[in-house]
């Protein structure tokens, strides 16, 4: 499994590249009022409005810094209706991929109700990488808020 690495706070996290469509630079957002601190806004992704969640804000509570290495990871997000939507995830230090086997990713051993998206840990000499599962990233409220239109239609 290849993990796309990003950093939130001082720690490294990874997304399975199978869930990733494209990594693009940070662009300007159309902000959404009352969307909550974790939602950075909407971007125009090749003619389609795509909501972007700030992973740094979601994990650490502090917004991503406007660096060159802060990028938007466009992911394939399964909505409840069985369809697939594009979800943008903004994260800091999206500069590396880490190759690891399925055996390298061990179960976390803890189950945090507030962070159901943590799906295993990959121990590396440089520090552990926590795997983030895209499908469990959004709380039911946030998912309903961002993808209502698709589920209704």
């Amino acid at each position: 499994m290849l993990l796309l690495q990003f950093q939130a706070g001082n720690d490294r996290y990874g997304l399975d590249v199978a869930e990733v469509i494209e990594v693009v630079p940070r662009v300007t957002f159309r902000e959404l009022p009352h969307a909550g601190p974790a939602v950075a806004g909407l971007i125009n992704y090749r003619g389609t409005p795509v909501p972007v969640v700030d992973l740094t804000a979601l994990i650490t509570g502090i917004a991503s810094r406007p660096f060159f290495s802060t990028r938007i990871i466009l992911t394939d997000y399964p909505d409840r209706a069985g369809g697939h939507r594009v979800l943008g995830l903004m994260a800091e230090r999206v500069t590396e991929t880490v190759s690891c086997t399925e055996g390298d990713v061990q179960p976390l051993g803890v189950n945090l109700a507030a962070a159901p998206y943590l799906g295993g840990i990959c121990l590396r000499p440089g520090g552990a990488i926590l795997r983030v599962r895209v499908e469990d990233l959004l709380t039911p409220e946030l998912r309903a808020a961002l993808f209502t239109a698709a589920e209704d239609g």
């Binding site: 940070r26 300007t28 660096f67 060159f68 500069t95």
Partner: protein, 222 residues
């Protein structure tokens, strides 16, 4: 791997850009394989991006993806005297060090110059310059060292080697950039050229491979 004391531009002090005394260098060969160098390069991205940068990129992201780029013609560009010529990369096999060809009595002439040994295989060495009647002399771009090369090309099992004054590497052109030859082009050049690409400062002639290989094969006949 980030060792204290080494993190500040060690590649300029003990690495390949310095006195090359770094003990890691023996195993790595070049600083670019070293994690310290990589990490320093990545740190360059941890800078604040300019204010108008996200706006500019937003426009690019909003536009449909430009995938026309995929249909490019890949050619190897080389120089014979004053002429820049190109051959499709698929027919190109290697660029080797130049070696003088062994002439064969009563066989070798102006175009077929002899036999060369390339990686243990004997290949007929041709003079493309003689075939296309390109005058010798005139060097390449000023301010750059030109390395003559022995170019090995192959098509449908026929392999030939020829001497080029310089191999400039692989270039990609959109097929629509190919232009017809100007009326002033010499007949010998015209016979083997499919068209020209406008280059940065000089035009590049694209060799018509079927005509070239046919002409080379003909030149072997006594």
């Amino acid at each position: 791997m980030e060792q204290p004391g080494l993190s500040s531009a060690c590649w300029k002090e003990t690495g390949v850009f310095g006195d090359k005394s770094c003990p890691e260098l023996a195993g790595l060969g070049h600083c670019r394989h070293c994690p310290v160098y990589t990490a320093a390069g990545r740190r360059l991205l941890d800078r604040q991006s300019p204010r108008d940068y996200p706006e500019e990129l937003a426009k690019l992201l909003a536009a449909p993806k430009d995938e026309a780029e995929a249909e490019t013609l890949s050619v190897v560009v080389f120089r014979l005297g004053p002429e820049l010529l190109a051959l499709k990369t698929v027919f190109f096999q290697e660029a080797a060090e130049t070696v003088p060809p062994h002439s064969i009595p009563l066989r070798t002439g102006e175009v077929f110059t002899g036999i060369v040994n390339v990686n243990g295989e004997l290949i007929c060495c041709m003079s493309l310059a003689a075939l296309m009647e390109i005058p010798a002399g005139e060097t390449g771009t000023v301010g750059r060292t030109a390395y003559p090369r022995l170019v090995v090309v192959a098509r449908q099992g026929h392999r030939f080697a020829f001497a080029a004054d310089e191999v400039l590497g692989v270039r990609r052109f959109p097929p629509e950039a190919l232009r017809g030859l100007p009326a002033t082009a010499a007949k010998s050049v015209r016979a083997l050229t499919a068209g020209i690409f406008p280059g940065e400062d000089r035009t590049i002639g694209l060799i018509a491979e079927e005509k070239l290989f046919a002409a080379l094969t003909r030149s072997l006949a006594p």
